[in-house]
Subunit: 255 residues, 2 copies
DNA sequence: CGCCCCCTTGAAGTGTGTCAAATCGGGTGG
DNA sequence: CCACCCGATTTGACACACTTCAAGGGGGCG
């Protein structure tokens, strides 16, 4: 059991969870065994929750991408936000509420159940991780509003990719600012309020400007710090404790 | 004391708070006395919290309008969301976090402090009200993302005004779909990702189409149900308990 | 091989932004 | 009571970022 817990704790989702709060051994074990028991994989495009229906129990994304999405009656689609390895789903609201948005898997993904916030020891590391996860969620939602309201297409894509890079880094899924990007250009457009055609042309501009590089589903950002400066990108103010560690790792790998 | 509590409970903000959860007498009294002690009014444009600085204690808006706002370095401004009478500020995150956004008063406003969520009886009506307030907050933030990402200017303004009408109705501040709208056209533009010039022209179109009517700071929506249908507006799925009551009131007034 | 999905490209259209100036309306002081 | 001022609203002419429509190309996979 301990061995399996250790093994589980090495997957990206657990790395990120551990980065959000100092879990003690009991919590680690509880999460790992719960994950083991309830872990399941879901297919591309399957729905993890549906807007307006009762909120499913809290979940943790172990791998893959998912998205909170809203459809309009005439077929327009808006992706409200993306969910990556280590992201928690449905932890903010109380138990009796309805799911605020439909969530669909953008890739094949694996998930597991998590305890409700009310079931946690109030001062434990896991409760702290939940709190931080909620704060991050809000931060990224506000970032999304700002992107859509006030940034140009060029800035929106830049800012979004900076965010993805920064979030994946926390899970150890982006190294040297290079990461897998499974979103099609159409999905990117639905996320950023653009058409796929314009996403395409803007990506070309970004490549020409030396901002990024793409090759079969991977993206490399050439100079995230400079780009962040250019588009006025903001990192979350509440730094999870693991960020510095992640940076150290980066330094060791590319000195 | 009881008398003062009763008096306090008749203000719009308390109406709305009571609509979110069934407060018992002890809670009513606690809120009322806390409000009495900590109530203060703030001037136009004063900041209630500042992005990145430590989160101030939870607050309740007693009257007036405020906005969560983000400024870009080149002067662009995005209003992330507006706060109305009865809205709670800073109740979602844990105690130790940073304010996720700057909040400024859009009018003169009055506020009071509220207990932290962790200080409440877990199963009390007030805790339920907090949960509902958090859920509503998220709902309206998601609505904002959808507006900015996928709606035209005409639809954005319509959808936003439907939202304001629906929220003010909960506080009893909109009757017969007529309410005070203190936002200038420039502020409206900053909320909806538009310029004030285009807001102006779009409002003219809405007036010409018979959608709404404006007169010295008031707005009247002529047929909210039809308009909601037109722009695919969604009401929050988690209906607070007071909504039906509010509707009954409306019916009694305009049979 | 052929299908399907995704990416790419071109040409033309339009919703919204920009710039600039005029008008309105409420407050304030002479 | 008028003169002035200031912020907000309104209007016009023009520019452009992004969309629309349509077609072609490439790669994986049954």
């Amino acid at each position: 059991m301990i061995a399996s817990a250790r093994r589980e704790m090495s997957v990206p989702a657990f790395d990120r969870l551990a980065a959000l709060g100092r879990l003690n051994d009991i919590e680690r074990l509880a999460v790992a065994t719960s994950a083991e028991r309830t872990q399941r994989s879901v297919r591309l495009r399957s729905e993890l929750s549906r807007e307006g229906e009762p909120q499913p129990p809290p979940m943790l994304v172990l791998s893959g991408w998912a998205a909170r999405v809203r459809m309009l009656s005439d077929g327009r689609r808006q992706i409200l936000g993306v969910l990556l390895s280590g992201d928690l789903i449905g932890i903010a609201a109380g138990p009796r509420s309805f799911a605020p948005s439909t969530i669909v898997a953008l890739t094949e993904a694996t998930l597991c159940n998590m305890p409700r916030r009310s079931e946690l020891a109030p001062d434990g590391g896991l409760a702290g991780a939940y709190d931080l996860a909620i704060a991050l969620d809000e931060h990224y939602l506000l970032a999304q509003v700002t992107r859509l309201g006030r940034l140009s297409a060029y800035e929106r894509i830049s800012d979004f990719l900076l965010e993805i890079n920064e979030r994946l880094k926390l899970a150890g899924l982006s190294t040297a600012n290079c990461f897998r990007m499974p979103l099609t250009q159409e999905l990117l457009g639905d996320t950023l309020g653009l058409t796929s055609v314009h996403v395409n042309r803007t990506l070309q501009a970004l490549r020409k400007d030396g901002v990024l590089e793409t090759s079969n589903g991977m993206i490399r950002l050439h100079d995230p710090a400079r780009l962040a400066e250019m588009v006025d990108h903001r990192e979350p103010p509440a730094r999870p404790k693991g960020v510095e560690i992640a940076r150290d790792r980066m330094v060791q790998r590319k000195p």
